[in-house]
Symmetry: D3
């Protein structure tokens, strides 16, 4: 073995410097003051915590699929205690995050200065009551969410020749994680917790490369394979038994502005995808168009108009030069 | 400085609600019972642990590249102790994860109810013996794996004008992480631990955006630049000195079903890419076709037929409207 | 409830095997020795730590946006203490990481054996001094960096109809994270800390799917929506008010080699994108071309030639078969 | 402010030395081999884990006193789920630790070589069955344990003029922690898990300075104030309503050896303390003597003979020199 | 080397048992209900958190002695930012813990059922205001606390021949930790936060073996050497320049009960120790007696009467039998 | 079940206050400046880290007793790799802590201002060399330390009738922890690293209640039972086969001061305890006296004069009043 190291040697140390701290601190204070128009000027608001939300998502996943996302050693006598306690902890924590998120709602007719505000007429105990109500409604939907997720799981097993077991899908498929998180996020979005729902979709995006806006409506038996780069927009509507591959975009074609130049927010601008559609890798489908039932869209296709049921759309061919 | 806060103010607290826990717990139990056909009804099986596997991958990487992935201060007298202990810990832990994974193997001819089962004829001590045998064989391949990874490292250094050192590649290039993990996963896949191999590829995918199925055969001096969105399918075969860019798909064209409507699993359905091929960003290559030696495939190309050696394939031109 | 578990049952245990450790350790030592030409033969060098750098980035983000990335309960009397202490800790730690990174600089005219070396003429105290100088200069740019980031934040708010508040953008938008990290990385790159800058871009890429080389010049009011798969090359130049969508590549067309076959490193090879350009999802723009002011490039476009100001480039149409 | 630091200075770095590792490793191996007579020569045995046991103790404490040692926000609908899940986790983990501990039982008639062995006639599944049986019996005693602990709690409240609430006692009194842990340990000791019980007493000792052997029998309404240095021996018997102060020893007077010179283990050798006895700080009570009902023993007393009921024992007076 | 292990062997696994959970949960619920008289029946109260308090104590210690308990690399420009931010965080967190503690105050004239209650006339915003007021007053005393602690530090240096530096005392002497924590606790006790003060003394006791009630008045230049087993009672009064050794008790002699049999709480019952007294190891001093200025009390002395100034008290001699 | 909680309720929130931070920070700065005479005015010195030292002690313990303090699953092929790597890590880290400790050495003849200083004639590379030399010598003593610890282990097994196995002693006996740490500390003390040795004894004291100064000389087959409150002074000398019980003090009788009033440091002032002595609980032995071979000293004895070999010393009797 060659000599790796001599027997006595110095590792060069960390230097100790001065950074002009007073000046930097002062200049940053000035920057904050000059951009006060994008800073909020009201009561103290705590942002929802991404770490807390991750724990909540883990807890909800464990409550829905206890042996796969919870713990393997659960017996007949213990499983309901496990599920009940996981739910209780997750829902308590969720209520607090929902409450925080309710403080971050945009002021209508006031987009020019980007000032989010508390919904008018809300005081603290209203907020508490609203957060609890949203969370209780969310809890009551969990059984339905689980039932639909089971159809997604079956769709993945039947839709991928490389899938060997449902356990493999639950544990190894980013598309499964993405749809579980989306179904949680979508329920919260509809119940009036859009900020929190958005943060859930951010967490899913970061871990899977799949970016589904919580507003998107997605039917049962939904399957995304591989998934990196998939984008599904806020007003997209997707039917049952739809299958997507990596890098598929269901996006908006253009963003109309109002007379003041501000973007008009919230209008339907993403595709409607009917039942039994398959969209292959890299296809881009834009605008409020309808993809008819049973259609297949080939990889890399660029599509901005509606197509009839049972269509088969492919890309222009490449050429050999 | 403007008034940021008054001197005494309340942060609104977490609300305490009731969630109808008994009802939710009961409904989830019903949902589990109604979907019992996708639940496993046998002995207790612990799933391989993603956290444990991440530690094992870190340990194996440290054993192969001690000063880059292990610790910088290693001397001639200490390096073999370090490597030996890292290996021993990683291999002990790997044996346990392999054992767990062996319990998740699909039942042949029984895809209709998605029931994974223990391989017939396997009892606990058979499983132990098999897990140990797989792990011991894996250990004996580590030197070969390291040798091939060194060719990948050199390919990255020579293939990217932005690369300034091998250290930069080992530390900063997602493609390097992806190929290290793939070479571990592929060895385990071939040795009979497909579930575990799949979970390794999931970990790599999550951290790099690169999704390589463990079944894919990849030659030496392989380099993926940037890498986000790359997908390489289960039966793909890639030669030596191949270079891929981000969002390249080597996928299947279609998924033939048997007469019962179930997908036929395992047949060759992904491309064969011969030596010295370069495939640029966003190209999609589908089906059991052959890309001849030395071919260049341009970015965004959609390709579903074989091409001869030394071809140069480009996309149809865009137009200015 | 059906019987989940019998009352007494064994979980199969971890097997204890032997791995032929002596042989594997010896073979890995041989592999290290045989590939010594890619191993560094000098003083001990500690690599910059990804974990330390993540903490530094968190600290700098908190110093720039204290209530969003720091802590919500900051008062007039406490905010400057918070900012000052976060800065001091982050800058002390940064100086150490910069120092480490300075040891990994490639030897000019010596690419054939991939040997990174210490810059000639540098001894330990020179390195300390240089690291401190770089860090102090970096500190003095923080106010400017914050001012530009505020324009990026406003661009996101005004550019995405789904954005409801600046808080949502700061917390939920991967594009915001990517540009914050890039502006830190670019400053360090220009100040002479390229290795460290590269590691920052790797961290950003891993968390967002957006891969921006630290060398890229990017103007103010920059916005990337969704972002997965975006790649921006080392020598790209981007003007003000530019908007990109997911999977856009601003890449190099070809990599010229010198007469010895080695790639020529560092020459301008990525696009110049002028002010007010919008590039939609999946577009690939390659080579040292210029995209004129105000141009719109459609999704999926493949572009390798310059276009005039106010152009509108779209992809060839797909066809219905 | 005086000059704390110059602006540029080196922190002296960690030295890199060589330690003669091969020689030290070899000498330690020789030491292990030469002292093989105190090393166990049988199957692999995992020691009970102190960290796991601490978690188990936390879990059991939370199950018994959910709002003080568990979590404050428990509602009527959630508290039983919480208790049930805490119990299930703690009991599952306890069974494993009990199983480990069962492997460490001394071989009768073989004290000369200090060789602990597996109880004869025990194979692995016997051990499992025994560990489960012990744990199930332990579970069935938890209600009784809680009831007695409530009497201890009341004794502390009524016995210390400085105690202002039961919450203060549960949270701030080392004596309360010691008696909770002892009652768990004593139950396990009696059920046949002495090693594990001993480890629990070690944990209690480390955190409170109170050292109670798990074998000691202690009646209800027991209170130790301050507690540092209290030692209660293996065969001590303590009645109801007994109060001890810091540094009280209830120890053995002498340790008789058998003819071979080995200590005779297990015979009664510690005091019997009857009901309603108070023993003040620093008193030392040794041997199998009886302290009659209602007796008060003064601080610092040294006592090696029995005393009648209602005695009042004090130390010889100090003198002023 | 002898054979440590055969090459293939089983580690016995964790057994899976059933615990009769439903029964245990039910019995514990019954136990809680039957002992409802020691359970609190009011609003939800969160107990002060020992972990939070430990962090607060670390923060306050760092603010007072920044280079010893904070971080070594502090410069003239950074030290005040460090101190200010540590203080702000610690004081914010302290206010919350003080608020929690205020809810645990015993109901006067109601000791018979051990029911702690909220102070009458307190609602939530009163509590907030009181917690903030206590914390602000505490902050204003920190400079004084530091000044006194410096006299303690000097007393330790001059009082122990084994002490080689003040750094050694700050880092290695349990007596120093105990007095720092006591001075914090005493200030809070006097300001009206007795529960929190008590929890601080519990933390100090657990880490040092020294148990000082927060109510004790202790003068400057105080030094405890070794310290294990020292107990100082609630109403003790200690002058300046007093030195104690391990296992010294300054306790109460008896606890008078009122006519109902309840202990009378709060009356003076511990010794007054005047200036310049030294008390050696194991001495026990009980009751509201006065130890005159300059007195020396020998090790192991048992003392229940006052002694004049400059006395020299020693224990009765041992005898050789 | 009684109503634990209503269904909607507020938890009172953390208040937000202002603390007069500027004033407190300024006053603390003044306090630091006024007490500058006990502050060090030289180069930056990092204190040895208690956390790092705990890790080092864990590593050394694992290297000496691999299956008890390391990991249970070690095979013939892996145990030396484990020991070697544990040692290397622990010794590297120890060298750094030794180096730090060397900076804290008191200035001779300068006790009046409590100024510790760097030993004269030491510059940074001298320090490195000295730290490495001390650590290398320490490494060479490890085999001897292990051999002696094995005699201590046997003494515990033979000395305590409650001990059932050597594993129980290694895992559950605080006296064993104390003597292991002391033998490490004593070796470092003798090699010239007194500050570090002192910190090790502090760690042992905190976890066991046993306070042994690193300077104390202790022979083989040493056993401390229970141990809380044991204090052994700096210049104590203890023979072979000595047994101590809890609360035994081997201390100094008086501390002579020099003419300036400063304590004389370092002179012999603690007892010499010859072979085969037993000292029972609570005995206090003070001054440079000699306890003759084979002597037994009873519990609670106060002894300040030498006693001949084979003496039997007991306390004056208590009396019944």
């Amino acid at each position: 073995m060659s000599k790796l190291r001599p027997s006595l040697e110095l590792v060069v140390p960390v230097p100790v410097g001065t950074w002009g701290l007073d000046g930097v601190v002062k200049s940053l204070r000035q920057s904050r003051e000059e951009t006060h128009n994008i800073r909020y000027r009201g009561q103290i608001r705590e942002l929802p915590s991404r770490e807390a939300l991750q724990r909540i998502l883990d807890g909800l996943s464990a409550a829905l699929f206890p042996t796969h996302y919870g713990q393997p050693v659960l017996t007949d006598e213990s499983i309901d205690y496990f599920v009940g306690d996981k739910l209780n902890t997750a829902l308590n924590d969720l209520a607090e995050q929902v409450r925080r998120g309710l403080l971050f709602v945009s002021r209508q007719g006031d987009e020019d200065d980007a000032q989010p505000v508390v919904k008018s007429g809300h005081d603290a105990s209203d907020l508490d009551r609203e957060a609890i109500e949203i969370t209780r409604n969310f809890a009551s939907q969990l059984r339905h969410i689980r039932d639909v997720l089971v159809t997604d799981l079956q769709a993945a097993y039947h839709g991928d020749p490389a899938a060997h077991s449902v356990s493999e899908i639950l544990v190894c498929y980013p598309g499964m994680t993405a749809i579980i998180y989306h179904r949680f996020a979508h329920a919260l979005h509809n119940l009036g917790a859009p900020f929190l729902a958005r943060l859930i979709s951010r967490i899913a995006h970061s871990g899977t490369g799949i970016d589904i806006h919580p507003g998107a409506e997605i039917g049962s038996s939904f399957f995304i394979d591989h998934g990196t780069g998939v984008v599904i927009g806020e007003t997209a509507v997707i039917g049952n038994r739809v299958r997507l591959y990596q890098a598929v975009t269901l996006g908006a074609k253009r963003f109309p502005a109002d007379e003041s130049g501000s973007l008009i927010k919230g209008n339907p601008r993403h595709p409607i995808v009917e039942d039994d559609v398959v969209i292959y890798a890299g296809a881009t489908v834009l605008g409020r168009i309808t993809i008819g039932k049973g259609t297949t869209i080939g990889g890399g296709v660029w599509l901005t108009h509606s197509v009839a049921a049972d269509s088969n759309i492919t890309q222009a061919q490449s050429r050999n030069i």
